[in-house]
């Protein structure tokens, strides 16, 4: 699926979200253009994950609209948005403990798989071919992120860094048209972070929407071409890394941010 010409990727307009009396998002708008790695930064508790959840349909804002490739997303749940080609990773690792790492990535292909209920119980040649193909794709995603060697391990035997990369592998394996990553570098060491940065850059295609949520400035500055800054639920700035670096509000928010980063 490619983004039709003239459409503008994943768009959120005027999103407001409150939990009880707590206003978590306040009239937030953002545009994620295809072919551009977009970053979303902000201190802890700024509402990044909440905005993310609004985009993926886990939360529904009280106000605002969102659309993807020109199609309105309002009212769609997470599974329906997944069917539109939007995938995500989770800030809190969401691995199934009973499945091997490879199988955890393999489930990312569920919507793409065509084998029916009969072949779920009775092996057929077509089902085996399909299974091999799916495994090849999942394995490719793991290799892309440099963790192919851990494919057959159980999540409980692996370090969190590997699991986080696997989480990303699951999001990219189905070749989605939009990938949203929530704090992909949290818990990664320097080497893994570098691998991740490279992998994400390699992944980038002209028709792919890619959003990376981080509170680590350095990673975002290196990776992204366009950056949004969220603070206390409001979008305080947006622009190129250079513009963001020079933005007075951003400097104020991130001054003395060392403890946070």
């Amino acid at each position: 699926m490619t983004v039709p010409a003239g459409s503008n990727g994943l768009v959120a307009e005027g999103i407001s979200l409150a939990f009880g009396g707590l206003q978590v998002l306040n009239d937030v708008s953002m545009t994620l253009r295809p072919g551009v790695i977009t970053g979303l930064i902000g201190p802890n508790g700024a509402g990044k994950t909440s905005l993310f959840n609004c985009l993926t349909g886990l939360y529904h804002g009280q106000r605002g609209r969102s659309s993807f490739a020109g199609t309105p997303l309002n009212g769609l749940g997470p599974a329906q948005r997944a069917a539109c080609g939007i995938t995500r990773s989770f800030q809190n690792l969401a691995m199934c403990p009973d499945l091997s790492l490879l199988e955890n990535v393999l489930v990312g292909l569920t919507l793409k798989r065509r084998s029916g209920w009969f072949s779920a119980f009775v092996p057929t040649p077509a089902q085996r071919a399909e299974q091999r193909d799916a495994e090849r794709r999942a394995m490719a995603a793991l290799n892309e992120l440099g963790i192919g060697s851990a494919a057959h391990e159980k999540p409980s035997d692996l370090p969190p860094g590997t699991l986080r990369l696997a989480e990303i592998a699951r999001a990219i394996t189905s070749e989605p048209t939009a990938i949203l990553l929530d704090e992909p570098a949290a818990g990664l060491n320097a080497v893994e972070t570098r691998d991740l940065t490279r992998a994400l850059k390699r992944l980038m295609r002209s028709d792919l929407v890619l959003l990376v949520v981080e509170h680590d400035m350095d990673l975002i500055m290196e990776l992204c071409e366009h950056i949004y800054v969220l603070n206390f639920g409001s979008m305080i700035a947006s622009g190129t890394p250079a513009e963001i670096r020079a933005h007075p509000d951003v400097i104020r928010v991130y001054l003395g941010d060392d403890a946070d980063a």
Partner: protein, 326 residues
């Protein structure tokens, strides 16, 4: 390991991982061979008990499927078991057909009943389903007795037709039950690696992440319950065939609870040995403790509590077999 030996899912004996002989698989194979040869040595009553035991093992398996893949408990699976058993009996009485026709029919009807039952609670947490299965278990005796015209009321119905005329009844019962149980275990081993199996395990362990990759809770709930009910009905059809009779006595409120006990005692395992342990427990304990009738609920209750506590006590967990969902 799942991937490399995938192509060999149905072959037993040697796993593809480096060509090493897999001891677990070999012992299952040995068990199957031993059970297949047993009728050469054993007498009628033992064969009869074992046939029932196989049928019960399959019923236990249906509950374990629900626990493993759905994360749900049912205390009303006796309903679907009875459904299958009565389907066989009624098909024989009304249409004059043997289990060659009624076994598949019972399975399909069981799946349909499971779907209808699970559909209303598709969006709710599993606890609501558990409560609804309690009503199912309590409604069952009423239905069996109330629809006397079909079910034969208190008396029940006889099942007399052979699958293959000419072969001794005891052998037919034994081998049909063993073959169906073995095939279902193989099918479940394959299912564990299928797209649907993986999706169900994911939906159970990480419902939100599963939604985000397109696996909805309602799909997962309805699918696994339908499958599990189908297996339960198949088990019921075997029970009916193996015991040559169906009556409300075999399906009281407690039958459903006992199936859950069998599942818990077998650690919700989906392998042939696990199913046999569960089936043997619920078949043999009541038979051999018949004099101590009132102790049976206590024994079962203690088994439920102890196994559940031990299996969930965290530290003890690593002594249990790994790889849930097998």
């Amino acid at each position: 390991m799942a991937v490399s030996d995938l192509a060999h899912a149905s072959k037993t004996g040697v796993s593809a991982r480096g060509g090493h002989v897999d001891i677990a698989r070999l012992s299952v194979l040995a068990l199957v061979v031993a059970l297949s040869l047993l009728p050469l040595l054993a007498g009628g009553f033992l064969l009869y008990s074992l046939s029932l035991c196989f049928a019960n093992a399959l019923a236990v398996l249906s509950v374990s499927m629900l626990v493993r893949y759905g994360g749900e408990v049912s205390i009303g699976h006796s309903f679907f078991v009875a459904f299958g058993a009565y389907a066989v009996a009624i098909v024989e009485h009304r249409l004059g057909l043997s289990i060659a026709a009624s076994l598949p029919l019972a399975t399909l009807l069981g799946a349909a009943a499971g779907f209808v039952f699970a559909f209303p609670s598709r969006r709710l947490s599993g606890i609501y389903l558990a409560v609804a299965t309690m009503a199912l278990a309590l409604a069952l005796p009423e239905i069996l007795i109330g629809f006397e015209k079909f079910t034969g009321g208190f008396e029940g119905l006889y099942i007399a037709q052979d699958l293959i005329p000419g072969i001794p009844k005891a052998l037919q019962r034994y081998y049909v039950a063993l073959a169906v149980l073995g095939l279902v275990c193989l099918a479940l081993a394959h299912f564990r690696r299928s797209a649907q199996g993986l999706a169900l395990l994911m939906a159970q362990a990480q419902p939100r992440a599963a939604e985000a990759i397109g696996i909805t809770r309602s799909w997962a709930r309805v699918s696994i319950f339908t499958l599990s009910a189908a297996v339960a009905a198949l088990a019921g059809a075997l029970t009916g065939f193996a015991s040559s009779t169906v009556s409300p006595n075999s399906f009281t409120f407690f039958s459903g609870v006992f199936l859950l006990v069998g599942s818990v005692v077998s650690l919700n395992g989906l392998s042939l040995p696990a199913a046999l342990v569960g089936g043997a427990f619920i078949t043999l304990v009541p038979t051999y403790l018949a004099q101590a009738g009132d102790w049976v609920p206590i024994l079962y209750g203690v088994a439920l509590v102890v196994v559940t506590l031990v299996a969930n006590a965290g530290d003890l967990r690593r002594f249990l077999p790994r790889g849930r969902g097998r």
